[in-house]
Symmetry: none
Subunit: 214 residues, 4 copies
């Protein structure tokens, strides 16, 4: 008896997988070489297809890049928004979980390379920078801001300015990511153990945020 999900002929299953294969290849190539230096032919070869095939799925280099960001980073932000919306427990726990999710699912993976790439090349590709700012930076920041506001309103956090506090939360993580992820491999830089850093950072931050209890 045949499994119901396998009734399609093989090439059709292949077709459905194509975009994912291309996005995976593109992610690797972008992270390895940067945006400008990535040649679409290399992305295609990496996915085992020809140059032209890429254009069946993505209109151009920019759209390919955006798709990579959407399919990975934006999707993760969406999950995090879901998590936050449905979470019932204490705000500190939520905040810690979000920071950890960000670290583990983005910063500590090859996706961290995308952030590095935007830092390095964003200036030269204003439309990409705009896109990244809107879809990632603004949306991610505002999620943290909302969680902070929630904690303050529920009396769990001290009444800090949630926008400024968001920046204070974000900065060390991005730095750690640059440090861990993207340092020149040839450079003998000091290793910072990321897990410990994040643990200490989150613990410290939550302690600092905790509202005074009389």
């Amino acid at each position: 008896m045949q499994a119901p999900q396998d009734t399609k002929p093989r090439w059709e299953r292949r077709k459905d997988a194509r975009p994912q294969e291309l996005l995976a290849a593109a992610l690797e190539q972008f992270v390895e070489r940067g945006y400008a230096a990535t040649r679409l032919e290399d992305v295609a070869r990496r996915a085992g297809v020809s140059k032209g095939t890429l254009y069946l799925y993505f209109a151009n280099k920019e759209e390919l890049f955006k798709a990579v960001v959407r399919d990975n980073i934006v999707a993760t932000i969406g999950e995090a928004e879901q998590d936050a919306a449905t979470f019932d427990g204490p705000s500190g726990e939520l905040l810690g979980a979000l920071l950890m999710k960000w670290w583990e699912e983005i910063c500590a993976t090859p996706l961290g390379g995308i952030t590095k790439l935007m830092l390095a090349e964003g200036n030269n590709f204003p439309e990409l920078a705009q896109f990244y700012n809107d879809e990632v930076v603004a949306r991610g920041s505002s999620l943290f801001t909302r969680v902070l506001t929630r904690g303050i309103e529920r009396g769990e956090f001290r009444p800090v300015d949630p926008v400024v506090m968001t920046q204070v939360l974000i900065a060390p993580v991005i730095m750690l990511m640059m440090w861990t992820h993207s340092f020149m491999p040839t450079c003998d830089m000091p290793q910072i153990p990321p897990q410990e850093f994040m643990d200490v950072f989150i613990a410290t931050t939550l302690r600092g945020l905790k509202a005074d209890t009389p």
Copy 2:
């Protein structure tokens, strides 16, 4: 009476100044646009010369970049090595001075952009990365390591591992530099006052390093 260093007629002094003007223009352009995206024509225009003139002084783009690094960062490291070699006073004072020099003359100037650039694009230009590692990272690190060793040998510092300690010294400065250079242009990060940060950092570090006095 003529200053002894100015015996040449003016237009010849101008000629001698050419390389410096080119290096200055190149530095600005590299910092603004990154290595890959910098067009030599823009460098030339910025220096007020033709593209061809650039090639009279620098064999190619890579050599131009190396020259920028040498003329600025490596030169500063050389001075620092001189300072260290001729300094007679306490090692803590020397160490603090070196950190401060690094901050003030490199990190806090446009040269900081070169470090950011190497972090971002080093992967794509292995030969540049190698050069930067050899001429800047290794040489700078080893200077700090020697000063630490000096301090330990003279009984001024606790007997820490000087190589590891070097990395501990370097990391916060680079982080502060990335921070200050506002590496995420779209992100309005809170300002960290660099001077205070450095003061506190140096003071803390030196206190931590100080050998126990019975």
Copy 3:
């Protein structure tokens, strides 16, 4: 009771209609965009089939274009040849009918766009130009020439040179066609009423051709 030409089941009739649908779509696309700028994918989409299907019926773009010309213009010329061959009446009547048929079935329909296209792009596609010249221009011209000869031989027309006279017949019709098809879209040209033009033109021409009757 079934019509005798409709004995096939419906889906099969549909199948037979395929080439016609494709030719119709191709005609529209060629007229709208010109030969070079017509993309076969657009033709296919317009006909509601896939690009591959096009190649089941036509070997390539050029053959598709030729088929459009054959199926429409050449077919009409064939009919006209039949008409002329079987016509028994006065040559003037025949000539007028042929001119009118040409105008009404070709020039005044979208097929006029094909003529415009050949005028405009023929130079760039010598093989198409050759084909068009052989199948349309030469064949059409020779039909008029034969009718003129017939009229002269039967003593109905003055003894003009039938080849030159053919050219005199053709020119105004093509001009009117170019005019009617508004070949300069940006230019709001005054409308020439084509029916009146053709009526006057044919009447005048026939009067001019009529042999002197003693």
Copy 4:
């Protein structure tokens, strides 16, 4: 003794001539092959330079085409505007001279191919069509309209609608141009002797325009 206009070194004189050489090559190529089918490399080769050189003088294909139009057609229109502005004689004479100038300097030269090209491909390149309409069609038409108005105001012409009359003037010339210039060379079309056509056309038109004298 050296001629004063030849003091420049040879390559510099060459440089000054470059744009003209490129424009001439581009004109030929555009007229021969149409806009879309013209490859910039062929234009370059025709001018005896490399592809890249073209881009030193013209930003892209579109600008090259515009430059061809400006340098030839628009320039001629400018001259005609001058002629018209400074002309003192009877309006009929002026009008006839303008029509003849148009015919001789544009329609009867390779520049006529540019008009054909716009007719054929204008639809596919809206920006070029816009440019051509603004710089050529509108400007040329308005010149004729002004001359007609001048004649009417001076009582030389009957009080026709000058805008409509402009179109009536333009149409036959464009048709003649299409006929003379751009017919498929393989087609045995009747030759219309252009000079005679223009003479008759102008004479007829001026007679028709002449104001009734009591």
